[in-house]
Amino acid sequence: MDEKEIRHLTESGFEITVPTENSFRFSENSAYQRLSGLGLKEMDIGWWDTANNKLILIELKGIEIWQGFDKAKDSAHKYLVEALNGKVTDVLLMLAAVWVKTGIGKEIGTDLPNHTHQYRGDGSIKLIFLIDTPPSRQSLLLPVKDAINKAIAGRVRLFGINHVTLINFDVARKMGLPVERRA
């Protein structure tokens, strides 16, 4: 495939490689950029997975995820749950705006692959958080994933999503996601 047809995203020590045609970044969209200052959050990259007929949205997080965390006041899992659920909620709202074709929804939709311009049915969206996790903490991600889903289950089910995925790099590779580690 021609290099122009491939999108590389390097973020938080990971690199994602996906076809340009089927992928998008909210952060590069001018309509989103106008709203980001109003507190609207996004996820790093999305693409339409043609093999599985799914829209995949992924957020890559390294140690910088703890930048706003006050370890004297907050609990780490609550901080993480709040941060990630805020992103999920806002991304789903943006997709809904695209689907119902609000004025700004149409603008956002111009940068999104055609397949994502309408709701494709239950189970057609996958939301993934890839967290760079030290080996000692990997087994503790599952309860955190449960806590995230417990907090957000009602909202994501409105969009035909059973659960949000929280994984480390090893699991991402096992899932076949197009992600590599980068120094």
Partner: protein, 341 residues
């Protein structure tokens, strides 16, 4: 026929509790001292006397073993005179027993509904935390002849384990479960002179030489093979995770789900996250599973319950909270290390 509801008033640790039960798997989660085992023992006692036509008050004493066998010691402790009530329901059939905290003998208890309760028998099995099969030889005769200080659940489970196989061919569901268990524990269970053995290519291995987890699976194999666990039975299992390798949790949960699909009502008390998560991941849409969280209310210090069909919505979840606390402390330690260079 399944146990549909339990109501307890001033009984052991409970001030007042009303718990609706599912006909499938009921999982009790909660910190120590929140009454998980007590609930299962109450329901088991009620099931057992439906078969034996015994006296509920006596069964409670033998199962709970209060000091001096004084039944009044099962009433929630308080300084004044008090009376407790225990009610167990099979749909609209109710068995009720009540007694005062001064009662020392079981015949002072008031029991209602025993006749209609006994008209529909419930086969039941209670698997206690401590494994008994390896200590079985001689125990039953000792228990029946001597006044030894053992909760009756230990003698009862041996009675169930020693039962001969059911007459007739083994149905396909039970056959499948037995084969799965045989694969997992690499053998079948045999009994000789009250002693249990695992029979495989190596010969007969005494239960005392087996890992305790394998003994547990062996017990389950026996109970399915001899029909103690059959359509309409009720299984109570206190902390099935004890001494079981976590790799076996998945197969074990699969078996429990299969039993539930065979119309066997299951009660589990657990402290283990993997057990809960295996159940959450393996249960299918048609499976009937209820998660019951038992907890002490922060204001009243009384035991309360919260029931949900969805594991994620279980609240409070003492087990998950423990793991989240570990996560919190692990993150904090790492951040402190990175701040210190």
């Amino acid at each position: 026929m399944t146990i549909t509801k339990i109501m307890l008033e001033r009984f052991t640790a409970f001030e007042k509790l009303e718990l609706d039960l599912s006909s499938g798997i009921n999982v009790f989660v909660g910190a120590n001292g929140t009454g998980k085992t007590h609930l299962m023992k109450v329901a088991y006692a009620a099931c057992d006397i439906s078969k034996t036509k015994g006296d509920m008050a006596e069964k409670l004493v033998r199962v709970f073993l209060p000091s001096g066998k004084a039944i009044g010691r099962l009433v929630k402790r308080r300084e004044t005179s008090s009376r407790c009530a225990v009610e167990v329901f099979k749909d609209n059939i109710k068995l009720r027993v009540s007694f005062s905290n001064h009662a020392t003998v079981t015949n002072s208890a008031t029991i209602t509904g025993a006749k209609s309760w006994g008209e529909q028998e419930i086969e039941s099995v209670y698997i206690p935390v401590k494994e008994m099969l390896s200590n079985a030889p001689g125990f039953r005769s000792l228990y029946s002849q001597r006044d030894i200080h053992f909760e009756e659940i230990y003698a009862d489970i041996l009675d169930r384990a020693y039962r001969p196989a059911l007459r007739g061919p083994v149905d396909s569901d039970r056959k499948r479960l037995l084969i799965n268990l045989q694969k997992t524990m690499a053998g079948k269970v045999t009994i000789k002179d009250e002693e249990f053995f695992l029979r495989n290519k190596q010969g007969n291995l005494e239960f005392t030489l087996l890992a305790e987890g394998i003994r547990k699976l062996g017990l389950l194999w026996l109970l399915i093979q001899n029909g103690s666990l059959y359509k309409g039975s009720v299984l109570f299992w206190d902390e099935p995770e004890t001494n079981l390798n976590p790799k076996l949790f998945g197969p074990l949960i699969e078996i429990l789900l299969e039993l539930q699909r065979m119309d066997i009502q299951v009660f589990l008390a657990t402290h283990d996250y993997v057990i809960l998560k295996e159940l959450d991941l393996r249960k299918k849409e048609q499976d009937v599973v209820s998660f019951h969280s038992l907890y002490r209310d922060a204001k009243t210090d009384q035991i309360q319950s919260h029931t949900t069909d969805e594991y994620l919505q279980l609240h409070p979840n003492a087990i998950q909270d423990t793991f989240l606390d570990l996560f919190d402390r692990d993150v904090k330690r790492d951040l402190e290390l990175s701040a210190n260079g």
